[in-house]
């Protein structure tokens, strides 16, 4: 316990230093901005800003990038409630009841409860990250290459199972990502693989290129297809303070949302989006009068908003302890750590404690800043929504282009990003989820390295993955989940086929 307190004290010392505090603030503001503006997400933003963080010290860079992620969860609720357009995928669910409350003139309490719920969830999950750090790290130290490989397989299976669409397509996306990650130089022999003698590809396709292309450019191409029309609720924001009955009603929802969000954030494949949806569904099932949902029930705002904040912070746990990214945003963080020369894994906590505890402390500080940014300054954010998309997207494109170019002074990289934008656009049109691909792409080199090492140690015997106890357990869990996910799909597809042939 005293260990924990002294570590936290050190963490606060790091987080409160001028530079880190400033970067945390920037992350929070940019995150809120990105959350408020529809069409720009934290994934694309983090990818865009990664090259810029080169000049910054590693702790500061990660603090800022983390701030963007959980800041976006706060900002997304603003647009959901006021404009009925989700600023973030994780705030889709908030539009259901939040906007109804705004229509009833209760936008103020809705926004306030969203912020309060998010803050509470942020505090709780910060404590969780601190508490679970040490135990998980000691577990991870028992891992050998076979266990790491199986853990990554489990992580990818989770990501596939929890993905929105078809399981098989998600697995195919993971395979595609793994395959693409093998372009470049082989780790062990140094031989050039699938690079066609192009010097820019000799180190592989940069993951920022893929991330910016598939999530940034493709998103812009999609948005450009639809004409944008936004109608802002002009009702004056009278009272910002929620009433006492409001607070009582939402306290239960906030607790449940926080709990659910914390768990789902840790699980690979989880993350803020799934947490928000799950919390809303759960809250509706638990309610005494479910028909209130969708008509302005305050629990429908409190639960998902707490859940998405809790999840966005607890998803740092697998990253900081095991070095495994549980979702696409964390995959980018792995990349950020690698760029700054930090090897993600259990040794981060022991070799760079100021990074680990500094990040935890700054998460709590970030949440505090965000409540201040979001509540009194709501008016400013709403005014930003009036910026037309036709002015916004060229800015995104040029920032991405310059950012990618500045990584390696290679114009080739910028064009590759545009190519991946087209690929990402194609993927979405064909109902393929791009996030598993990014996860596969980031985990590919690690997986291959561990696979090869494990096979070498086991002298070419593939059964080592199931005979070693921890590894075997992980693989069994992965197989079980996969079967669980595929079964209903087979039944459903069968129904579709039978309906079609009878009809």
């Amino acid at each position: 316990m005293t260990d924990l307190l002294s570590n936290l004290a050190m963490g606060f010392g790091v987080a409160l230093s001028g530079m880190n505090l400033f970067l945390c603030l920037i992350g929070a503001i940019v995150g809120t901005l990105v959350g408020v503006l529809p069409g720009v997400g934290p994934l694309a933003t983090i990818a865009m800003l990664l090259p810029i963080t080169f000049g910054l010290p590693p702790v500061g860079a990660l603090i800022m990038l983390a701030g963007i992620y959980y800041g976006a969860q706060y900002g997304g609720s603003t647009t959901s409630i006021l404009v009925n357009i989700p600023g973030e995928a994780s705030s889709v669910v908030t539009t259901l009841d939040g906007h109804q409350m705004a229509r009833q003139g209760r936008a103020g309490p809705a926004l306030a409860i969203a912020a309060i719920g998010s803050f509470f969830a942020g505090c709780v999950s910060t404590v969780l990250v601190a508490a679970l750090g040490a135990p998980l790290t000691s577990v991870a130290l028992m891992f050998g290459p076979a266990e790491y490989f199986s853990l990554m397989v489990l992580g990818l299976v989770f990501a596939v199972v929890l993905a929105r669409g078809s399981v098989i397509k998600a697995v195919a996306m993971v395979m595609m990502g793994l395959l693409m990650s093998m372009v470049g130089s082989d780790i062990e022999t140094g031989q050039s693989r699938m690079a066609f003698d192009v010097p820019e590809l000799s180190d592989g396709i940069g993951f920022i290129v893929v991330a910016m292309g598939v999530f940034g450019f493709a998103e812009i191409m999609r948005n450009l297809e639809q004409e944008s029309s936004r109608s802002i609720v002009h009702a004056k924001l009278t009272g910002l303070m929620p009433t006492w009955p409001d607070l009582k009603a939402s306290s239960g929802a906030i607790m449940r949302g926080t709990m659910l969000g914390s768990i789902l954030g840790i699980l690979p494949g989880g993350g803020a989006v799934i947490a928000a949806f799950a919390a809303y569904t759960f809250e509706k099932k638990m309610a005494k009068d479910p028909s209130r949902f969708g008509r302005g029930a305050i629990e429908g705002v409190a639960a998902p908003e707490s859940a998405n904040n809790a999840a966005s912070q607890t998803s740092f746990i697998p990253l900081l302890t095991l070095g495994i990214p549980p979702n696409a945003v964390m995959a980018l963080m792995v990349g950020a750590m690698t760029i700054h020369g930090i090897v993600p894994g259990p040794q981060v906590m022991t070799k760079q404690p100021e990074l680990f505890w500094g990040m935890i402390a700054s998460m709590w500080l970030g949440n505090l800043m965000l409540v201040i940014i979001n509540l009194p300054m709501v008016g400013i954010w709403v005014r930003l929504l009036r910026v037309p998309y036709r002015l916004l997207f060229p800015a995104i494109i040029i920032f991405c282009a310059i950012g990618v170019y500045s990584l390696n002074n290679a114009p080739f990289d910028a064009v590759m990003t545009a190519l991946f934008g087209i690929i990402g656009y194609w993927l979405v049109k064909h109902d393929f989820e791009p996030a598993p691909m990014l996860l596969g792409f980031v985990l590919g080199p690690l997986m291959e390295e561990n696979l090869r090492r494990a096979m070498l140690i086991a002298r070419g015997d593939p059964s080592t993955f199931v005979t070693r106890p921890i590894s075997g357990g992980l693989i069994a869990l992965a197989a079980f989940l996969l079967v669980l996910a595929v079964l209903p799909m087979i039944r459903h597809k069968r129904d579709e086929v039978f309906v079609e042939s009878e009809g």
Binding site: I52, G55, I168, K169, V171, A172, M175, M176, L178, L179, M182, D186, E188, T189, Q191, R193, M194, F196, V198, F217, I220, M221, L224, E225, Q226, P388, R390, L391, F393, P394, A395, I397, I398, F399, A401, I402, Y405, S406, A410, P411, F412, A414, V415, M416, A418, G421, I422, Y425, W426, K429, H430, D431, L451, M455, L456, R459, K493, E496, V497, E500
Partner: protein
């Protein structure tokens, strides 16, 4: 404009045997990608005793991908699904590939291939722009052109010119563009970029043209 989005069972298209075109063509593309990967890694050594060679893992995953692609394409034939939302990316895709070929080409034939791809891509794009689907081509095409202009211009012409032309090209990607506004906004944005990237963030970027010659303009990298 765009038709129904998510995978709700669509209206059966009379006479068409491909019931879910998204899955079918998607699966085919994945098979093609797997085959391409197999071809690209054909000269890599495989397993040597116990050790994985550089070619083992790519070939393994490529084969799995081909298998999955076949399953998905098969599902596309059997189960009902929504029609593919319309899109037009061949023109811009070919233009992108043309640049990549031009940069990586070492022999004369490959450079000719690059030129051919560029011409083909431009023709397809222009046809698309004149046709009914012009709003669908516009987005990907001008974004591609914008990035290409940046890539070609940044070294010889410097950040100011490259970013200005690039932003202006990007602004054309939306049918809602207003040209006077776009010209002014591009100037504002490129000034902001100059303030942000080289000055505030200390990135090593040239601002103005340096050795301007045909050689440097045509080298593309």
């Amino acid at each position: 404009m765009s038709e129904g989005v998510q995978a709700s069972p669509g209206v059966p298209r009379g006479g068409s045997r491909i019931r879910d075109p998204r899955d079918f063509y998607g699966g085919l593309a994945l098979i093609a990608l797997g085959v391409f990967a197999l071809w690209a890694s054909r000269d890599l050594p495989g397993m040597h005793g116990f050790a994985f060679g550089p070619g083992t893992a790519p070939r393994m995953f490529a084969i799995v991908l081909i298998g999955l692609g076949a399953v998905i394409a098969g599902m596309g034939l059997i189960t009902e699904g929504a029609a593919v939302e319309r899109y037009e990316i061949w023109g811009p895709a070919l233009i992108n590939l043309a640049y990549i070929f031009a940069v990586s080409a070492q022999t004369f034939t490959y450079k000719m291939v690059a030129l051919a791809l560029l011409v083909l891509g431009l023709i397809l794009s222009i046809i698309g722009l004149m046709g009914p689907k012009r709003n669908l081509v516009r987005g990907p095409l001008f974004i591609t052109l914008s990035v290409l202009i940046f890539a070609v211009a940044i070294r010889p012409l410097g950040l100011v010119i490259a970013s200005y032309c690039s932003i202006l090209a990007a602004a054309a990607a939306t049918p809602e563009v207003r040209w006077l506004e776009a010209i002014i906004w591009s100037a504002v944005l490129s000034a902001f970029c100059v303030l942000l990237f080289p000055i505030a963030l200390n990135l090593p970027l040239q601002l103005w043209p340096t050795n301007l010659s045909w050689a440097s303009l045509l080298s593309f990298r």
